[in-house]
């Protein structure tokens, strides 16, 4: 399949059309009905949480947050494939993948509430914190891949970047090193058509992103990122490829950010209602739901019930996260070095003197 849809082809890999019909049964992923239902529920959970965070943000209860709406099938598919020991090297717009690795929603909320502790991901094995400087994380993925080969481990690295991120020099270098070193890394580009306000056509003149794999001598494939089944099938094959010593893979997931770039962004400044509507019709959740309903695996009733449960659960977790307010001065210094210079202890002590002075003047 990686060859059939390789980067020379302009055909985007799709298994299920926007109406939820299976168009390429021969490429149906190895998923049982209950797996698909399970995956749909996870995507629904992510969608629900995502929308709720946006409204918490409007209430001033959390800081800037990058919505995922419209892109859930990509993380949802990763969630099906990624193993406990596999690595996840995030960008910042793949909520479902973080949850799949074991990051808790509470931690994620805490992070966006402004606590570094929210990056701890206590129960997530082999997952890095979110990465803000665009595309720089890809090089970490390549390095982890080298370590996996070096230590002869059975692990694969999944790493995310946006369409905008592919313009960075770090993207180029990370993929080039990865291919030269033949590391087990799956580079996932969420091509959601925009980098903040900048449309894809301003980002690059190339014919999509998958084709860029040719520059590195690695397989590249363009996939319908709103097609959960196609994404899952792609990760099945990509992990097979990467895991068997054949080196990295580049996956372009064509999707659309239905929401704003972040909660501080206003998309109406740079895109049309028509375009948004067009993509709304390709909503990955709606599409999978249609499939499930055709297969009699899901009902509106179930959806309503479970969404209600999710909302309650998410709100409970959010309120729990809000209870966390403590940020001791110590924590500013503590993790800066493994072996903390005396200087920093002194700076802390001096600041404490000031705090005492201030308290004494009250």
């Amino acid at each position: 399949m990686l060859e059939e849809f390789d980067s020379f082809k302009t055909e985007m890999f799709q298994v299920m059309d926007p109406a939820g019909n299976i168009t390429k049964p021969e490429h149906f992923p190895k998923l049982k009905d209950k797996d698909i239902v399970g995956a749909y529920k996870k995507m629904l959970f992510a969608r629900t949480a995502d929308l709720m965070v946006v409204s918490y943000q409007r209430q001033g209860r959390i800081y800037t947050y990058p919505p995922n709406q419209g892109q859930e099938a990509i993380s949802g598919a990763v969630a099906q494939i990624i193993r406990k020991d596999d690595w996840l090297v995030p960008a910042f717009r793949e909520l479902g993948a973080w949850l799949a690795k074991g990051a808790s929603l509470k931690e994620i909320f805490m992070y966006f509430m402004g606590f570094e502790e929210g990056s701890l991901f206590k129960n997530a094995r082999n997952m890095l914190p979110m990465n803000v400087p665009i595309a720089s994380q890809l090089q970490h993925a390549t390095g982890i891949g080298y370590a996996i080969n070096y230590k002869e481990k059975d692990e694969i690295v999944y790493t995310f970047v946006g369409d905008g991120g592919t313009s960075q020099g770090d993207f180029h270098e990370a993929l080039n090193f990865a291919a030269v070193w033949k590391v087990p890394v799956i580079f996932i580009v969420q091509n959601n058509q925009f980098a903040i306000s900048v449309p894809f056509k301003t980002q690059t003149a190339s014919d999509g992103i998958a084709i860029k794999a040719l520059a590195y001598g690695m397989p590249g494939i363009q996939v319908d990122g709103n097609d959960f089944l196609a994404m899952t099938k792609t990760f099945e094959e990509a992990s097979e490829h990467a895991g068997s010593g054949k080196g990295p893979v580049l996956i372009e997931a064509v999707t659309y950010r239905m929401g704003a770039h972040t909660t501080s962004d206003d998309p109406s400044k740079y895109r049309t209602k028509e375009e948004e509507d067009e993509w709304a019709a390709k909503d990955p959740l709606v599409r999978l739901k249609k499939y499930l309903m055709t297969q009699k695996l899901w009902t509106d009733k179930e959806e309503e019930t479970i969404t209600g449960q999710y909302k309650k659960e998410i709100d409970r977790i959010f309120i729990e996260a809000e209870k966390h307010t403590d940020y001791p001065l110590e924590d500013v210094f503590k993790y800066q070095y493994a072996d903390l210079p005396d200087d920093l202890l002194l700076q802390k002590a001096e600041h404490e003197k000031f705090l005492n002075w201030k308290a004494s003047r009250k």
């Binding site: 800081y63 800037t64 402004g114 770090d170 962004d265 400044k269 940020y327 001065l329 002075w357 201030k358």
Partner: protein, 325 residues
């Protein structure tokens, strides 16, 4: 005169210069259609066209690197780094070319350009959105570094920066973007680069600061006054080259110096000013000159940022100690 905040003032400075000089081009991530994530370049594309004001692909090195080429070929780029925390991919172009091409070519080619970037904390932002690393640029030969603290200064200094034949790192205290409003002339005027400004005259102690911290010092000064301390406040405005004359004259008068800066203290701007005080006014120093600065740590995420950010009280604390010394 018109009431403006710093965003308006900067926007107007660029607008005026775009009108006046056809060789000026304005570009960066999201500066065109969107008008910048802080709306600093709002409407400029509409007004001056997409050939002159435009969005680039997401790559800071190429934004700066192509600006070097444009400058060499006679354009005058006024570019934006979306946040100063994202300038690092462009560091090679800045240090190796922007700062050096004039010297390398013995004056034949220069890279006059303005690299604008919002810097500093205080807006409850994500990681990398709150840094104050001006010292990195100030230490790099070939650059000049400007930081305004008011809308009026921002406009006048930016106009000078755009008209300069030297490359200017223009750092904008994002915390003040909309926080201060002021009457600003709508005409074109310029404030010379390399000149500090004495904001308040005083006799007990000199405080040197710049950018967002000017306001914090002024807040501290209200309390200091109550305590009977007379502070002379200098807004540095240009970090390199430093206006030594103004600073030294003041220190010679007051005999005491406190430097207030936002970024990590060690190897920072405070150390430079204290050293200048030693070099030029040693015998006048009646107390150890003091730097008040951020810790030598990363700026914490919003919930810890209050520990890091310099408060008026902290400034007052150091003023008091220095005066009482």
């Amino acid at each position: 005169m018109k009431i403006m905040n710093m965003v308006n003032a900067i926007n107007q400075a660029i607008d005026l210069k775009l009108e006046e000089d056809p060789d000026i081009v304005v570009f960066g991530e999201d500066v065109g259609v969107e008008g910048g994530v802080f709306r600093v370049t709002e409407n400029l594309q509409k007004k001056h066209g997409a050939r002159r004001v435009f969005d680039t692909p997401l790559a800071e090195s190429a934004i700066v690197g192509s600006a070097v080429g444009m400058a060499v070929a006679g354009l005058k780029p006024v570019i934006e780094m979306q946040f100063s925390g994202f300038v690092y991919p462009a560091m090679n172009q800045i240090i190796s070319h922007v700062a050096r091409i004039r010297n390398r070519s013995r004056g034949r080619y220069g890279a006059p350009m303005v690299i604008r970037m919002p810097y500093g904390g205080g807006i409850n932002a994500l990681e990398h959105h709150s840094e104050s690393m001006e010292a990195l640029f100030a230490h790099t030969p070939g650059l000049k570094v400007v930081i305004p603290s008011t809308p009026g200064d921002a406009k006048g200094l930016l106009i000078s920066a755009i008209e300069s034949e030297d490359p200017i790192i223009f750092m904008e205290p994002k915390r003040l973007y909309r926080a201060i409003k002021q009457e600003v002339s709508e005409d074109k005027y310029s404030i010379p680069i390399g000149q500090a400004k004495v904001l308040s005259h005083g006799s007990d102690l000199t405080v040197v600061a710049y950018g967002a911290l000017i306001r914090e010092v002024q807040r501290a000064m209200v309390k200091a006054k109550d305590m009977g301390i007379s502070v002379e406040l200098i807004d540095l405005r240009t970090i390199y080259p430093i206006d030594k004359t103004t600073v030294i004259e003041s220190i010679k008068k007051t005999g005491r110096l406190v430097v207030v800066t936002e970024g990590p203290g060690s190897f920072g701007v405070g150390a430079e000013l204290i050293t200048i005080a030693n070099e030029e006014a040693f015998l006048h120093l009646e107390a150890p000159p003091k730097r008040v600065s951020g810790f030598d740590t990363i700026v914490p995420l919003p919930k810890g940022e209050h520990h890091y950010i310099i408060s008026p009280d902290k400034i007052l604390f150091e003023i008091e100690k220095t005066v009482k010394y």
